[in-house]
């Protein structure tokens, strides 16, 4: 480590960040803007990984494209940075190719709910054993802040300069109604609860979906004159209401309105692979040969 | 080289009959046989057809051009394809379902109540196998042994007896048909 470390104002000998075993420190500093929330979400993910019961060798991260999509490049795990919107089908292939893997999809709202929306609903319907961390900053940030499927009504974006008039998705409701077995929403301020949720989701079998509301200061906050990322964090502090088990139909996010957060769904349902194996065993009996992975 | 077209309506096992002819010729008689079939809405609705080319040498052009044999199991299949049958071809029909015009050229007509026989056997779906038994005798294109093996190895185990029975009925009907014809020629 060549960087100077400071304690107080007195430079001290370098030590590494406790997350170094999970992060690719050779790639830090990352590309995200000052006061962007993605890094905070990543820290929560890393914190959760310290506690899960799965060996790190078996945990993979798949991202799509965009700001959040870059997360795959910063985790020291088998990590894949795929194409726009296709993180979920890529992850589906990765998981089914080797069912021993635990695959976590971390990507943005544009990627998962916009261009990849079809994959989201079908992955949830199948109860594919994946964890999805959808970092929602309400815009297509990397391309300069265009309207997304999550942009709140009236918010200004580069392609809705007079305000957005398209109804946004209520993502937890979408995921839950399609069959996700674990659904939660937190903001980047709720780091501990978020880490706990991620830990639960990783330890759970089936399709888990966590929406993470993240500040985008450079694009979203600036264009809407909401201050910087810190102002958005303060907004979350004052306006996020924790309501576990809330009816997912009531989780719409209005512009600068209350944000309901919490764990909304935590149920059991057979996964795609469980169903495939159980059904074939039932129908084919002795003749069925379960696929166990690439070394089969 | 022999070109065969089997026509009928969906659900009669037209394609399956083409498959069994091709399998008998290529797998059990060691000839070459290429099956092509009409796909699309036509396979699901009214009429459908299967085409088989049987040859001593490799079949190069996969489609039939002027068929030597037409098997018609429906009036529509007959009307649609009869004009394309070779002038000295063989026309095999289900006599209850197809009312043919007087034959053109030297075309010979061979008829069997295949649907009725299959109903007697208790299952309409084996009309094609009855027809196949008849076909085996009438055309002499494939050996009896190959034909039986092809039937046995192309149907589900639980339906094998029924199918073989259907084949025998068609085969027997064919033998009798030829004997009758010979008699009428001799008289």
């Amino acid at each position: 480590m060549s960087e100077t470390q400071v304690i107080g104002k007195t430079p001290q000998k370098a030590e590494e960040h406790p997350m170094a075993k999970i992060l690719r420190m050779d790639r830090i500093p990352h590309i995200w803007c000052s006061t962007c929330g993605i890094g905070t979400a990543l820290t929560s993910f890393a914190t959760a990984l310290e506690k899960v019961n799965i060996p790190l060798d078996h945990i993979c991260v798949v991202s799509g494209i965009g700001c959040s999509g870059r997360i795959a490049g910063y985790v020291k795990l088998d990590s894949f940075h795929s194409t726009h919107g296709r993180a979920l089908p890529f992850a589906t292939g990765l998981k089914l190719g080797n069912p021993k893997l635990k695959v976590v999809v971390i990507s943005g709202d544009g990627d998962i709910a916009g261009i990849g929306g079809n994959h989201l609903i079908h992955s949830a319907r199948r109860n594919m054993d994946l964890v999805v961390l959808c970092i929602n900053n309400f815009v297509y940030a990397m391309t300069g802040g265009q309207t997304a499927a999550t942009t709140p009504l009236t918010a200004i974006t580069s392609t809705s300069p007079y305000g957005n008039y398209e109804r946004p998705f209520n993502l937890p409701h979408l995921a839950a109604s399609c069959g996700a077995v674990y659904v939660a929403r937190w903001t980047c301020l709720h780091v501990r609860r978020l880490a706990k949720s991620i830990e639960e989701a990783i330890n759970k079998k089936g399709f888990s979906f966590i929406e993470i509301i993240a500040p985008c200061s450079t694009i979203y906050a600036r264009r809407n004159r909401l201050g910087d990322g810190l102002d958005l964090m303060k907004f979350y502090h004052d306006n996020a209401i924790i309501k576990h088990g809330a009816d997912t139909r009531e989780l719409d996010i209005g512009y600068q309105d209350k944000i309901i957060v919490g764990k909304f769904v935590d149920i059991e349902r057979p996964t795609f692979l469980d169903s495939l194996n159980a059904w074939n065993k039932k129908v084919l009996g002795e003749k069925f040969r379960e696929y166990g992975g690439p070394n089969d | 080289m022999t070109e065969i077209r089997i026509s009928g309506f969906g659900g009669q096992g037209v394609i399956r009959m083409g498959y069994i002819i091709g399998k008998a010729a290529s797998i059990y008689d060691n000839k070459f046989a290429t099956l092509t079939q009409s796909f699309g809405p036509e396979a699901r609705g009214s009429s459908c057809s299967a085409q088989v080319v049987v040859s001593e040498d490799q079949v190069l052009y996969p489609y039939i051009t002027i068929p030597n044999i037409l098997v018609a199991m429906s009036q529509e299949g007959y009307s649609r394809f009869e004009s394309n049958l070779s002038e000295d071809g063989m026309l095999l029909i289900d006599e209850d379902l197809v009312k043919p015009n007087p034959p053109r050229g030297r075309i010979k007509i061979y008829s069997i109540p295949s649907a009725r026989i299959s109903e007697e056997l208790g299952n309409k779906i084996i009309a094609n196998i009855v027809m196949f038994g008849f076909f085996t005798v009438i055309t002499g294109l494939i050996t009896e042994e190959a034909a039986r093996k092809a039937v046995a190895n192309s149907v589900p185990q639980r339906l094998m007896d029924l199918n073989l029975k259907a084949f025998e009925r068609g085969y027997k009907y064919g033998k009798e048909f030829l004997a009758k014809q010979e008699k009428s020629v001799n008289v």
């Binding site: 400071v6 107080g8 001290q12 000052s34 964090m233 | -």
Partner: protein, 91 residues
């Protein structure tokens, strides 16, 4: 640490002391750590780092109880805290 009235289990209470580590050049000056430190241990430096941001500095090192919130909120992996020593409660 002093209490007005000594808790019954005072001998079991251990309050950890944190030691903060800040990577000066990695910081992008978001000030999340400063804002949300529950004991107001940190403040923004008046100095710039080479990227032009004001990283945090430790204002009250003795007050850090190693809650780790700064570490978790930092989007840059630029601050973390390790355990320094543990205080016993005194009456």
């Amino acid at each position: 640490m002093k209490f007005w009235r000594k808790p019954l289990d005072a001998d079991k209470i251990q309050i950890p002391h944190g030691e903060l580590h800040i990577v000066w050049e990695r910081c992008k000056g978001c000030s999340f750590c400063v804002e949300y430190c529950p004991r107001e241990v940190l403040e923004l430096s008046i100095e710039f780092n080479s990227k032009g941001y004001h990283p945090p500095v430790v204002k009250k090192p003795d007050d850090c109880v190693k809650c780790g919130l700064c570490e978790m909120l930092c989007p840059e992996f630029a601050i973390w805290v390790t355990e320094k020593e543990v205080d016993k409660v005194e009456s």
